[in-house]
């Protein structure tokens, strides 16, 4: 019953249960911090998190079908054969993920880049910024920064009170995506300065892309808000007990001039 992850595992590697608790924001702040230090240098655990991300993206697209199944279940449970057929349909759903990879770079690189520029946008108690990694170079992204497909971006958020955070984007084709977190609900965030654990490698959809940080006093579901943002535009984020901040960049092909 050997397994490659087991052979790559060190005594510091967390169990799958603990990694799942991390993704679901169910760890204590101190344990979360310790785990993040480990994740930066552990390829095995990073691979596990990528796997979780893929599963999350696939599941988000199945939710309406499950709701319908739930509604049907309340009245009359469908025959097994019908359920199986429906599940086949679900299994065949393809997901065109706008963002895929998860990776980390060191706090030191980000700190160094932060001292070189100031792309921070802030409002009240919420500050929202991002850093860009291109090859081995890390720099702080500014408003309407020109970025390239393949660049990796990582977000930084500062708040003076605890709450729940999600990050949405609308890309050059007008498609709305959730950049953070991985799960179905906004991530719980204590007050303070946070470099979010997952970074995003920009895909090949070119053009102007806007990124919103949505920070609320209560938990909220991501998919309904993503759909609302897609349908109604930024006004969908004007909600009670919430603040939102926007950043934007221009995404160009790797060989294109700045």
């Amino acid at each position: 019953m050997s397994e490659r992850r087991q052979s790559m595992r060190t005594e510091f590697c967390p169990s799958d249960l603990e990694l799942d608790r991390y993704v679901l924001s169910e760890l204590s702040p101190s344990r979360q911090q310790a785990l993040e230090v480990h994740l930066r240098s552990c390829a095995s655990c990073q691979a596990h998190l990528s796997e979780v991300e893929r599963a999350t993206q696939r599941l988000q697209h199945s939710y309406p079908t499950f709701t319908a199944l739930h509604r049907k279940f309340r009245g009359q449970r469908a025959p097994a054969s019908t359920r199986r057929a429906r599940m086949w349909t679900l299994a065949s759903l393809g997901v065109a993920a706008a963002v895929t990879l998860s990776l980390w770079w060191s706090d030191a690189m980000i700190k160094e880049a932060t001292t070189q520029s100031n792309g921070l946008r802030s409002k009240g108690s919420l500050s929202f910024s991002y850093h860009v990694k291109r090859a081995d170079h890390v720099f702080e992204g500014g408003m309407d920064e020109v970025l390239k497909s393949g660049d990796a971006i990582q977000f930084t958020v500062r708040t003076n009170q605890p709450g729940y955070l999600a990050i949405f984007s609308v890309d050059g084709k007008g498609t709305t995506n959730v950049y953070y977190p991985l799960g179905a609900l906004a991530a719980s965030l204590p007050s303070g300065h946070h470099t979010l654990p997952l970074s995003t490698v920009l895909d090949e959809v070119l053009g102007h892309e806007r990124i919103w940080a949505m920070f609320c006093g209560a938990p909220f579901e991501l998919e309904p808000l993503r759909k609302k943002l897609q349908a109604e535009g930024p006004g969908a984020l004007d909600q009670k007990q919430c603040r939102s901040e926007v950043l934007s960049f221009e995404k160009r092909a790797p060989g294109a001039p700045r």
């Binding site: 019953m1 992850r5 087991q6 799958d16 249960l17 799942d20 990528s50 179905a184």
Partner: protein
């Protein structure tokens, strides 16, 4: 709703254990429909996450033990997303065969210990067993695996 928050975890776990998209989606729906049908299953003796770990493991092991399902799953090679789970195609088949042959309790602790890399305390939390019983089950599992290795030799 638990499905929205924990569904991806259940799906990933089921893909890993069953190695098949179809069977994994079936597991996701069965686990959550069962929870809707009998919410008293979750008696808050543990967290929702550990409850779903146990429910998914239980469902998947039942599927592996079921002869017809097992035949279908054994024909399935590694799921394309199984790479990061760390198992190659042959290892996937061997793993499912071994899990299907283990007694129920040993199969569950084998999954938690070998696949999930859980500590004794985490296995105790997930299964609701005492730490002492977990140690006993793992001891029996190791004996079982040693005997199995002798037979293979």
């Amino acid at each position: 709703m638990a499905y929205q928050k924990y569904g991806a975890t259940v799906l990933r776990r089921a893909v890993r254990l069953l190695g098949s998209d179809e069977a994994a989606w079936e597991a996701v729906h069965q686990v959550f429909l069962s929870l809707l049908e009998r919410p008293e299953q979750f008696q808050k003796r543990s967290s929702m996450l550990t409850f779903l770990y146990e429910a998914t493991t239980h469902h998947c092991l039942n599927q592996l033990r079921n002869h017809k399902t097992r035949m279908r799953l054994l024909e399935t090679k590694a799921h394309p997303e199984g790479g990061s789970a760390g198992l190659g195609p042959d290892e996937f088949v061997a793993l499912r065969q071994r899990l299907a042959q283990l007694p129920r309790e040993l199969g569950e602790v084998a999954v938690y210990f070998h696949l999930d890399q859980m500590s004794y305390d985490e296995i105790a939390e997930t299964t609701g067993h005492s730490r002492r019983k977990v140690a006993l089950l793992l001891s029996r599992l190791k004996t079982h695996e040693r005997e199995e290795a002798k037979h293979e030799d």
